[in-house]
């Protein structure tokens, strides 16, 4: 069995997942993410397209980048991607260069599956004004005890 940072017996329904605060979003990070993910949608990499054709105030970060941040919230909490069973998100508001994104979450349900504890968690990414940019639900399966 691989290492985990937390086990089922250490988690209760209602528990907060430790928050992660990201450094301010930048056009450089958006460019790095475009390269790493292969998504070169001009909304993210072409300021003229984003502002003049799509009528946005600037290029925006990929919705998938905020989902990546929510993945980070989970793996930081449990130690690795191995326990993550599902991640289901809606992209609600855009992320602009300069935005400071905080990832947070809460355990909303817990059930037993053999010697595993399967946790359902509400997760969200919000900006510096408290606006939720992306939110959703994750399922994580942890060993019941160490």
């Amino acid at each position: 069995m691989y290492p985990v940072k937390v086990t089922g017996n250490q988690v209760d329904v209602g528990m907060q997942i430790p928050s992660v605060v990201k450094p301010p979003m930048s056009r450089v990070q958006i460019a790095k993410y475009a390269g790493a993910s292969g998504d070169f949608n001009p909304l993210h990499v072409d300021e003229m397209y984003a502002t003049q054709k799509a009528k946005m105030k600037s290029v925006i970060a990929h919705g998938m980048l905020s989902m990546g941040f929510l993945g980070h919230l989970l793996t930081e909490w449990v130690g690795s991607p191995l326990p993550v069973r599902s991640l289901d998100v809606r992209f609600q508001n855009s992320v602009y260069p300069g935005d400071v994104i905080t990832l947070s979450g809460q355990v909303t349900a817990k059930r037993e599956e053999g010697d595993l504890a399967v946790l359902t968690c509400q997760v969200q990414a919000a900006n510096q004004d408290g606006v939720v940019v992306t939110s959703g639900v994750a399922e994580v399966a942890l060993p019941g005890e160490a």
């Binding site: 990070q29 980070h72 793996t75 998100v89 809606r90």
Partner: protein
């Protein structure tokens, strides 16, 4: 689900329920995983250091790395209206994490198209599901992608 017929090109509507041919084969490289982890700002050593990753069975990819795997998504139709098509959501269901060395191939099904009233006019949502399999034909992850046209 309701579809406002004039809003969605007929050729695209006709594809609902169909499945694509398998997409290109994608080899999961350590460097791609490392660059992806760097781009999302996650310095967990299991994404880059074989020694740190050994207890986990070797280098793994972050949970959203599936997005780097080229999948044969149905392309956006030729919309005759609206300003922009935006990603509206993603759902990933994992059988296991993606790992360095995996050789992956996906098929995509066009699940549904539906219309909702939006703040400034109608929104048309398109939902597709990709099934990603490894070199043994085993499913690694299923990804549902929703796009919104406005």
């Amino acid at each position: 689900m309701t579809v406002d017929a004039e809003l969605v090109p007929a050729e695209f509507r006709a594809l609902i329920g169909t499945e694509s041919a398998p997409g290109p084969v994608y080899e999961v490289e350590r460097g791609a995983i490392r660059r992806f982890a760097e781009a999302i700002g996650d310095d967990n050593p299991i994404y880059r250091d074989p020694e740190a990753a050994a207890p986990y069975g070797g280098i793994v990819a972050p949970p959203t790395f599936f997005t780097a795997v080229n999948m044969p998504w149905f392309p956006e139709p030729k919309w005759t209206w609206g300003t922009v098509s935006l990603a509206s959501g993603r759902t990933a269901k994992y059988e296991r994490p993606i790992r360095a060395g995996d050789v992956l191939q996906s098929t995509v099904k066009l699940i549904d198209i539906y219309t909702r009233p939006g703040r400034n006019g109608p929104l048309v949502f398109t939902v597709q599901e990709a099934t990603v399999r490894d070199q043994h034909g085993e499913i690694v992850v299923r990804v549902q992608r929703a796009m919104a046209r406005r």
